[in-house]
Symmetry: C2
Subunit: 537 residues, 2 copies
Amino acid sequence: MITNQRRVVDTPLTPLRFLRRAADVYPEKTAIVDGSRRLSYTEAAESAAALARAIAASGVGAGDSIAYLAGNSAELVIAHFGVPLAGAALVAINTRLSSDEIAYILDHCSAGLVFADGSLADQHGAVLASGAGELVVLPEQDGTGGTYESFLARGCAAAEPEWAVADETATIAINYTSGTTGRPRGVTYTHRGAYLNALGQVIHQGFDFTTNYLWTLPLFHCNGWCGAWAVTAVAGTHVCLRAVRGPDIWRLLAAENIDHLSGAPAVLSIMAEAAEAHPLERPLSIATGGAPPSPAATKQLKELRARVFHLYGLTETYGPYAMCEYQPTWAGLDPEALSVKLARQGVGMITADELRVVQTDPDTLELEDVPCDGVAIGEIVMRGNTVMKGYYRDEAATATAFAGGWFHSGDLGVRHPDGYVQLVDRAKDVVISGGENISSVELEQALLSHPAVAEVAVIGVPDERWGERPKAYVVLRAEKVATEDELIAHVKVKIAGYKAPKMVAFVDALPRSATGKVLKQQLRDLEWAGRATRIHG
Amino acid sequence: MITNQRRVVDTPLTPLRFLRRAADVYPEKTAIVDGSRRLSYTEAAESAAALARAIAASGVGAGDSIAYLAGNSAELVIAHFGVPLAGAALVAINTRLSSDEIAYILDHCSAGLVFADGSLADQHGAVLASGAGELVVLPEQDGTGGTYESFLARGCAAAEPEWAVADETATIAINYTSGTTGRPRGVTYTHRGAYLNALGQVIHQGFDFTTNYLWTLPLFHCNGWCGAWAVTAVAGTHVCLRAVRGPDIWRLLAAENIDHLSGAPAVLSIMAEAAEAHPLERPLSIATGGAPPSPAATKQLKELRARVFHLYGLTETYGPYAMCEYQPTWAGLDPEALSVKLARQGVGMITADELRVVQTDPDTLELEDVPCDGVAIGEIVMRGNTVMKGYYRDEAATATAFAGGWFHSGDLGVRHPDGYVQLVDRAKDVVISGGENISSVELEQALLSHPAVAEVAVIGVPDERWGERPKAYVVLRAEKVATEDELIAHVKVKIAGYKAPKMVAFVDALPRSATGKVLKQQLRDLEWAGRATRIHG
């Protein structure tokens, strides 16, 4: 038997180490570009330490929450280190939320301090002034204005913070999910989980110290999918982007020699369709998630020297948990067959645990994997280091989410014979027609493969014979035309005829939430008006 | 205050996950090439599971040690997973040790099973037959012979092992150090440490799923610097090499499209000087450690399209803990100035903790960092997840090694103004002359920069006036000549005159240990014969 020897305590895992190391190894390297401001890694580390000292001097610290209501800025990147350096948890709030929603979050997390961009402070002034923690107004992009500098000044005499954490399972951040029903829930991330998912992002996205990362993804989305920490781990350069606009993206791609960015498929469309689009000098890697990338945008971007790959995860999984890993054997596939492969959510990352598709026994809570046949539908469940600690101050919701020891995503998927998982629907969006499950995602993908279709949302609408039938709301591309019959015929050659939509409605835009999610609820309200239930069969 | 919510248990970190995932995601991809044998990832995972089942069926398991006495083979790669899969610790023994040393290790770790190559089983038959655990003879490179297959057969009926570990601080491996004095000590590695250092190797060496890794480094050296796990993490291909010979290396570089290998500087010389050397088709990344790479070999290899980078660590730090990270600002340096930069040991890796150079107060055991001036000499100390759990069954040595909470390497170094650490000597090899410390490593580097010098060892010899003076033992390159005066003059233009050797002795070969370390002790024996002490001043 191996006897125990003196246990030397392991260093707790924390992303704080990443900034400390980057500043030690690459002190002069540019850490953050924000408009005309350029901060070296020394300056970034000093700024984080100054923030931590001022937080401590304000009487806020271990176990407290600190909220940010800010666009992608140098200050928000720094907050990802300065706030946990003070022992507090960062709550980066979605800037498109309403005053009511913001008020709810500030109250729910008992924010000890609130940092806000000037324009957002004005917009939500009433909420920020009442009850919540002290308000600090962040500077403009040029570094002037606001009350941030004077806030920092109060920390001058405070002790230098330690770049370490005593307990790696301490909370580093709370991210509120933008639930379409009910109140937002606070998803808690640990130092350990953030550290490991950041390393996973480094490995899978291929970051290194030459990386110049353009922040097209909001930092308030899962801490930028842990990118705030991952890019810093390799001492790459963060290039802030305060609004996702084609001209700005294309200007920065060239000016800052960008090699990586991330974002929802909408970002890909904005890039591909921008008037400024042109083949890139440096190859660009684009990580997308939230929905499968459209084959059309992927193809357009490939011609511009950008490689698109597909990640999958939720706020509860620190952002990306899985990715559609490219298989060498796919090299011979024609573009259409390849795009079918690449639209899948894929496999768990190196730092993640398994990605399972299961049926849950409602009595025993036992999980049974569905067969790997690409047909049997189950719920996607995940667990491990890169799954949240729980919902903040909501033990009941946490217990429900982790029924059977695995996090239940609420997403429905299939597992293909090669083991790759494909999302077929959000649980509540499935259309059941004639007893058959129809995946609205699959149908949306089929419609998106038509060259005239820019955006699409599929919902179930009542049907006398079949219970429900799918209906598609379609936004056409600029200067393109298509008829309802043409689109239905197009779908029928792509997927089984019974899945084709009954009707197509052409609209100018889809209703979307503050985070850009399509509000199918609003579409259903239209279609199901006057009925008692939305289940019809 | 943040209240605690239901804690969902994190998945314990373990490299076992790497093989399970690689087999799930890339089942058909080649995991291991060993001579004419090629194992897919499915086959590798099945082989590891078969090994684990047979170990369990043999009554060996959790808390036991299992020894391997084997060259770089498919079986030894698989043992890195199959042994811990059975809950046991892998003890991969240096194949160049004597029967006595092997007997000591087998006894010290109470090996429950011993796996040996046929030739080594013959060579050490008496030791292996007596007392130690059951002997299993491994097959030849073509997969035939030995008793391994029949051993595996006994596990057929055993239960499928779980690809997980209950406690991430459990021991995954014990690596015995080849101390030049005293008995070998067993350095214990944990699942957590192996997992994290493997991810560090992936990031710093730049492994990905296209990686074809040539095993020039013995797998029994710190588990191949954790490469057995790191290459598997990205589902790269392990290409086994059973003896480090130029023709075999150059044949495999081409045949297997190798992009990475590692090894001591001697491997670099063998490669650079081989008759088969030619510019490579695929760029090759070579990680070297144990001693700084010689500028001459680095330059020769660069011309062949191989990039050399320099790692630093010890058996106690899972192999590499630090690396000489390349700075973008070095791009403008001339080759000589650059080689001076690259010969430094550098900075702690992303997954490591700090790399410190300290003076230890002998009474309080407090550590004080030396100034960053490139001159003040201190001891290199390290800690954290990628430092050993301790010396197996040697609490006293463990306590001494971790005096003050940091692992004391016994290596002496300086810290330069840019924060990079440079090893100046092994503690026992410092030459003290006229009260000045002279680094034998620095002097060896200066001599190696002469085009005629192939190998060199510097020791202190007695001197009436200065106490000690350095003396150099030099092996010249084939068909090159140089005189003592010429070499001393060469050194004096490189470094301070007082550091130049008093004498140069030309020899055909340096005395080396089984692991290739120069046995300076033997050289000192010659020089200090008849004296009571080896300190002279």
